[in-house]
Symmetry: C2
Subunit: 373 residues, 2 copies
């Protein structure tokens, strides 16, 4: 295997495939990238136990040669070292040459590196074919779907299924649900394709994937019973699925409320940010006290003291009400709505409440209050 | 104690005095700032075991009232909480009011905080009077003195005296020396004052102090046998001294050399940065191979491979020579010189070598080579 390759395109593909490599992976194979030069171009594959990324550098981009002077072949090479070397090289063209299957010579005419490498046969065989239900959607739509829901998934592995984002397609809609059992977030988007499936994809993986889109416009998604595959702009990402059945959450979002608070999102975030300075590290419990002529947020901490702040601009409908909650949940929900004003709808002091954007019914954030004494 | 104070000036003084507070100090007293409103203004004092900072907010700056509506008094209050609260408040004027000696009410008309506090009598009595040898110098000169030498001090406490920057004044010169026993850095500056003293100040403290100067022009320095005191622009910083005698280092800088390499500083730094990607985490040993027509840096790593790089622009005088060294030491030395070109003078393969700026004899960096096999 040998080639001359544009430094810029090589580095871009290394950084992309390298996102699947866990830092300081003790397993030498999984700390490596597989480089495979074939008739399609240079395919670079990085993988960890749950996600695989393949990034392809083509021979030509438009009229411009990207890979020249090449002999096909493949090798396995340490991801961190190769990426750092290519990043720091100053030449525009990098020569990459595998000698005796065990040494990769990397040279830009000025710096010359000989990196230990091994044969690609040692790499696990990873299925990157699009099987099952295949459809496309705009990258921006998938990004919105994931960013407005996945944050509510659990990060703890006690109930492993709750680390997933649950996706359900049907009736030309795709609905994403995440819950860590103290809060739930649901977002729905329209689909062109008339397809139907249910699957549970690690929420963390989906957030990583939508952050890789950069300038890509359209993503092809293939959902099978073994994996979810996302293809965009020269990159293919495969994610494992989370095994098990997702809890049934359809009916738990209440429809009838007795109290309604409409506030400016930024003002409520700033006020909560200030008073929660006093909250203890472990959890940040804030009390919201509402009546038709006064809304305030407050915190009491035995150790530190107390704080309260009046909200200046609000519209409140209902009897006097006090509700306490984990402020991080409300902050996450408000940020996910990306709306200037938010509406919070309460049933009663100790019943779950809903944070939503009055002008956009496609997203709902449900939060369980906390008891304070 | 009560006052209204400009948020901007209050925050600036809190941040300044707070630099002495160790993060998450378990001792409630040392995690606190002492606030003392007296006839000079609001004095804010923060301290850790080795350094104390006093920052003063005056009643007026020019014609502008900074503190109004005041009653003198003092209190002790958690540094982190008070600073975060003041930082996040949106009002321009903050009211600060101590009630019953145990609660500080902090209010900007919008947010209202009640912070637990204690009486200032519990705070240790700290001497902040300028005793001993007192002199002034430009802040920029002290900054240069410290930044070009202190980095070479030891960060390990086995030989505690080597964590100090050694200062010696005499003959209208101030000479700073730091060594961790594998390298030594010495910088000398001219003094207006005809004074004479020797002292050892923690190198870390001096680096912190020169980074506090901001817009200050002149610093007053007072060196006694118990402490070093630095006064500038409304701030007083007291540092402990490192006990013990500093090793005699005068004669260890060699004067005669057999090999001279002159290179562009940035080119050598970039080349060393690239090849040391291959060095192991623990230490980064680089070999410099020099002859009159070729200079190259190289690294060999059993685990990772090898790298070498030719230096493009150089001037070398002497026989062929190979020297290995810890690249971090040479990188630190070159950066401290702040010079476009650097000269490295060698005696022999295994003897200490000197890195210097050919145009500035006031600073010398001495480095011990390493043996490679």
């Amino acid at each position: 295997m040998r080639l001359n390759i544009s430094k810029e395109q090589f580095l871009k593909a290394l950084l992309s495939a390298g996102k699947a490599i866990a830092p300081k992976n003790p397993n030498a194979i999984l700390a490596s990238l597989k480089l495979d030069l074939n008739e399609k171009g240079l395919e670079i594959i990085g993988s960890n136990s749950s996600m695989t990324i393949k990034s392809t550098v083509p021979y030509m981009i438009g009229e411009k040669n990207v890979i020249t002077n090449s002999i096909v072949g493949s090798t396995l090479i340490n991801a961190h070292l190769l990426t750092e070397i290519v990043r720091r090289m100053e030449g525009e063209i990098i020569g990459f040459d595998v000698i005796d299957k065990s040494i990769a010579k990397i040279d830009d005419g000025r710096s010359s590196f000989k990196l230990n490498c091994t044969t690609a046969e040692e790499y696990p065989d990873i299925d990157l074919e699009p099987n099952g239900t295949v459809f496309t959607m705009p990258c921006s739509t998938l990004t919105e779907l994931v960013e407005q829901s996945a944050f509510a998934a659990s990060t703890k592995e006690q109930r492993f299924i709750l680390t997933a984002l649950n996706l359900e397609a049907g009736d030309n809609k795709l609905v994403a649900t995440a819950t860590d059992s103290a809060r739930l977030s649901r977002k729905s988007v329209d689909l062109d394709a008339d397809i139907s499936f249910k699957c549970n994809i690690p929420a963390r993986a989906l957030l990583d994937i939508v952050h890789m889109f950069e300038n890509a416009r359209t993503v092809e998604i293939a959902i099978s019973d073994r994996k979810a595959l996302f293809s965009f702009d020269g990159t293919v990402v495969s994610s494992c699925l989370v095994p098990g059945d997702y809890p049934v959450t359809k009916s738990i979002i209440p429809q009838n409320f007795n109290y309604f608070l409409e506030v400016n999102a930024q003002e409520l975030l700033s006020a909560m940010g200030r008073v929660s300075v006093l909250a203890s590290d472990r959890e940040s419990v804030i009390k919201l006290s509402m009546s038709e002529d006064n809304v305030e947020v407050s915190v009491k901490s035995q150790e530190n003291g107390s704080a309260n702040e009046h909200i200046q601009t609000f519209q409140y409908t209902g009897e006097r009400l006090e509700v306490s909650f984990n402020s991080l949940f409300v902050v996450d929900a408000i940020k996910a709505l990306k709306s200037e004003d938010v509406t919070i709808c309460f049933q009663a002091e100790m019943k779950p409440f809903v944070v939503k954007n009055g002008k956009d019914e496609s997203v709902v954030e449900l939060i369980t209050p906390m008891r304070t004494y």
